[in-house]
């Protein structure tokens, strides 16, 4: 069974926030309901207790019995909150003498003037009652007196209910407000993730720098893991490039020895077949050495492209030096290297080693594939913020291949017979152009040959 894809974070967050506000709304209702009921009950109890105590204290012993003067104010006060019903009872020596003789007695006898509160059903309703005891001298004997006051609590309940209803309405309103707010909160919470994803997505294919995009604390572990992964990847890549470079180096040195040995043997060899073999051997050695050199160049390009060195480079001086270096090779083929430089020196920002490798490969290609006694036109000019280098030859052209195909590693055109090459030259140029923020184009020239153009951004 395939594991179920986890639901959207946003939806999960939204559901949890809404559920939370629903719980809060209910909690608010219950809390206010209970709180209001308790608070009003406590208040009403104290009024009821005070009234009962006052009645007990007003009880007077007079000649021939007791005198009770119930004040209408006390009764009005007891009923004022919510128009409650009032019941009272007075017992002297355990006998009900006035009021409602069947009013329920307290569950335990109250102590002197300290009211006992209790609930009891009475007639058609439920009462809250307070009972107060005291003793009174009646005919020179102390007699126990019990005063009971009872009131309904309909109004209190109605008030508590209406308060709770209001709280519930408030809770509901909070709930309703919480839904759009939750949506907003979920959106703003998710934004850093989207921003990070966008920042990572914007990076180039070879950009293996660590992610430095500001991320909230909660995303830090993710970014750290991502950076650790990038570091491992970079290390692996570097190791591979290093390995290739070292391998190329280790091949190149013995090849040079082999070549010089073969050249010496050629000088000493007498018979023609042996000399022919030795010449073939020397050419094969040269090809291998060249491939190894290209591999090294390519590894260098990949490695240095990641470093993003930003030095000031004068492409004019660089191309002039290269032309000078290729002079002897061109002379061997009776070729002419023509160089046009702009009047004012140009300046680009980038990695001098890379730029030099790219230019060298372009000139090398032009020299290599051009027929004897031809000329190669090398032009450097400023063009719209770029330094444009054109290398035009009268060589074999592209042979019907597209630029994209020719830029592939180890891919050589179909028309390269008889010329040594590794298939890495154009790859190096194209990768350098990308790494430097420039562009590379290959076009067929009219009248045969190739025009290779490299744009490098000018500094400033």
């Amino acid at each position: 069974m395939a594991p179920r894809a986890p639901a959207s974070l946003r939806r999960r967050l939204l559901i949890q926030l809404i559920a939370l506000s629903a719980v809060l709304a209910v909690a608010l209702y219950v809390a206010v309901r209970l709180g209001a009921e308790r608070a009003s009950e406590a208040t009403l109890d104290s009024i009821l207790g005070a009234a009962t105590t006052a009645i007990a204290e007003e009880l007077r012993s007079v000649e021939g019995g007791t005198e009770l003067d119930l004040s209408p104010g006390t009764f009005s006060m007891l009923s004022a909150v919510g128009e409650e019903r009032i019941f009272h009872r007075l017992d002297i020596s355990g006998v009900a003498v006035t009021g409602y003789a069947d009013l329920p007695l307290p569950p335990r006898p109250p102590s002197t003037l300290e009211p006992v509160f209790y609930d009891a059903p009475y007639r058609d309703t439920d009462l809250r009652l307070a009972a107060v005891a005291r003793s009174l001298m009646i005919e020179n004997r102390p007699a126990p007196v019990l005063v009971i006051m009872g009131q309904t609590r309909d109004g209190q309940r109605a008030i508590a209910q209406s308060l709770a209803n209001r709280a519930a309405a408030l809770g509901l309103a909070v709930f309703l407000v919480a839904v759009p707010l939750s949506l907003l909160a979920a959106g703003s919470l998710m934004r850093p993730i989207a921003n990070l994803a966008e920042a990572v997505g914007r990076r180039g294919g070879h950009d293996l720098r660590p992610v430095r995009h500001p991320a909230p604390t909660e995303l830090k572990p993710l970014v750290e893991q991502l950076n650790a992964f990038i570091a491992r990847l970079r290390q692996t890549l570097a190791q591979t490039e290093t390995f290739i470079a070292e391998a190329a180096h280790h091949i190149r040195t013995p090849l040079a020895t082999l070549k010089s040995e073969a050249e010496m043997a050629l000088m000493q060899a007498g018979d023609e077949p042996t000399r022919a073999r030795l010449r073939g051997m020397i050419r094969a050695t040269e090809e291998s050495a060249r491939s190894a050199g290209q591999l090294l160049d390519h590894a260098t390009v990949l490695f240095r492209a990641d470093q993003r060195a930003q030095e000031r480079v004068d492409p004019g001086a660089m191309v002039a030096a290269l032309v000078e270096r290729f002079g002897p090779t061109a002379d061997l083929k009776d070729m002419e290297l023509r160089l046009d430089l702009p009047a004012a020196p140009l300046e680009t920002l980038g990695d001098a080693v890379l730029i030099e490798a790219a230019m060298r490969n372009l000139i090398d290609n032009a020299v290599k594939y051009s027929p004897d006694d031809s000329s190669v036109q090398i032009t450097l000019a400023a063009e719209g913020g770029f330094a444009r280098l054109d290398v035009r030859d009268r060589g074999r052209g592209l042979g019907g291949e597209t630029q994209a195909v020719l830029e592939r590693r180890f891919h050589r055109g179909a028309n390269v017979a008889g010329v040594v090459g590794s298939g890495l030259g154009l790859t190096i140029v194209a990768e350098t152009a990308v790494a430097m923020g420039g562009r590379f184009a290959l076009t067929e020239r009219e009248g045969g040959g190739t025009c290779a153009t490299l744009w490098l951004p000018l500094s400033g």
Binding site: E67, L68, D69, P72, G73, E83, E84, R85, G99
Partner: protein, 343 residues
């Protein structure tokens, strides 16, 4: 007629009675009506008749059985005897309050209660249908030449003290021992001012006569037997004292108790919907207008409480219950007797 009726009441009250005592009763409406609404009230049939007739005119198919009884009897009928009535109307606010407090009143439809001001109802059980003042009646002949009418209890006490020869044995007031309304007036007078006890002393010295009902006091004034009556129900006075009788009705300006005639539908009403229907009619503008007319404008519209601040409505709340307590009542009556019989 009134004398005869009172005599009957006295006679019946003296007998050990099992059921509550009916002063009068009358049936309104067609004989074979499908449904009947039963009303128990302290109000004289004469006052109620126009209301009953107007109500039945709007409600064909109904008849109305009206039973008139004293306020204490009304209370006893509902409380102790559980008599089946659909609407109970009484001037004894305290007794009505006690019935409602003790759970004998049914919840009224909310539309009946909602429009009423706070002082005119207690919860949804008891509503006030009319306000009437307790007034002072004084015969013009009793006033010495040039003497202004008393405006307050202080004036009244001074007048009585200065002219004992005029007022001796010719003052009437309620007997709180017998009359529910009389006891209510006494306790409310006491609640508002101490002057009632000084007045009681003065009236006692002048051998005041005690009555069960407003009607008998008015009869006494008409016959010349009395020259003054204290705490008479305004509606009775207005209806029975023509201007030419020479008796002046005075609203004392220190305070004039204003009684609320209250109505309720008992829990055991056989037809509570009809009771509520009749009550709704009484409270309607039409019902109020008829009632006002029947009592010759002695019923006070609520607006007058603002313009005549001495009109003090008796609060319709359980504060009324305190004076109904057995021991408290005993003490009140003892104090009343002591003030009245100090000689």
């Amino acid at each position: 007629m009134r004398h005869a009726l009172a005599a009957v009441v006295w006679l019946i009250a003296a007998l050990p009675a099992l059921g509550f005592e009916v002063e009068a009763e009358r049936r309104f409406g067609p004989e074979g009506a499908a449904r009947q609404v039963r009303v128990l009230a302290t109000t004289d049939i004469g006052f109620f008749a126009p209301l009953a007739e107007a109500f039945l005119a709007l409600q064909p198919g109904l008849s109305l059985h009206y039973v008139q009884a004293a306020s204490t009897e009304v209370h006893r009928a509902i409380d102790a005897e559980g008599a089946g009535f659909d609407l109970v109307i009484s001037t004894a606010m305290d007794l009505q309050m006690k019935l409602a407090n003790d759970g004998f009143a049914r919840a009224l439809p909310s539309d009946l209660v909602e429009g009423l001001p706070g002082w005119a109802h207690w919860r949804d059980r008891l509503v006030s249908i009319a306000q009437e003042p307790a007034i002072l009646l004084i015969a013009e002949s009793a006033l010495p030449e040039g003497q202004p009418l008393p405006r307050s209890r202080r004036d009244l006490i001074a007048l009585l003290r200065d002219h004992p020869e005029v007022f001796d044995r010719r003052i009437g007031t309620y007997d709180p021992q017998v009359s529910g309304v009389g006891y209510l007036f006494l306790t409310q007078d006491d609640r508002l001012s101490d002057s009632i006890w000084r007045l009681a002393e003065v009236m006692g010295r002048l051998n005041a006569r005690l009555y069960c009902c407003s009607g008998l006091m008015i009869d006494g004034l008409l016959s010349g037997e009395l020259v003054m009556a204290y705490n008479v129900l305004g509606s009775y006075a207005a209806a029975n004292l023509p201007p030419e009788s020479g008796v002046r009705a005075i609203l004392l300006e220190d305070f004039t108790l204003t009684l609320q005639r209250t109505a309720m539908v008992p829990v055991n009403a056989p037809a509570p919907d009809l009771g509520a229907l009749l009550l709704g009619f009484i409270l309607s503008p039409q019902g109020q207008a008829i009632q006002m007319q029947a009592s010759a404008d002695a019923v006070i519209p609520a607006e007058r409480f603002a313009t005549q601040p001495w009109l003090r409505p008796i609060r319709l709340d359980p504060g009324l219950l305190s004076s109904l307590d057995g021991m408290t009542r005993q003490r009140f009556l003892a104090e009343w007797s002591a003030a009245l019989d100090q000689l």
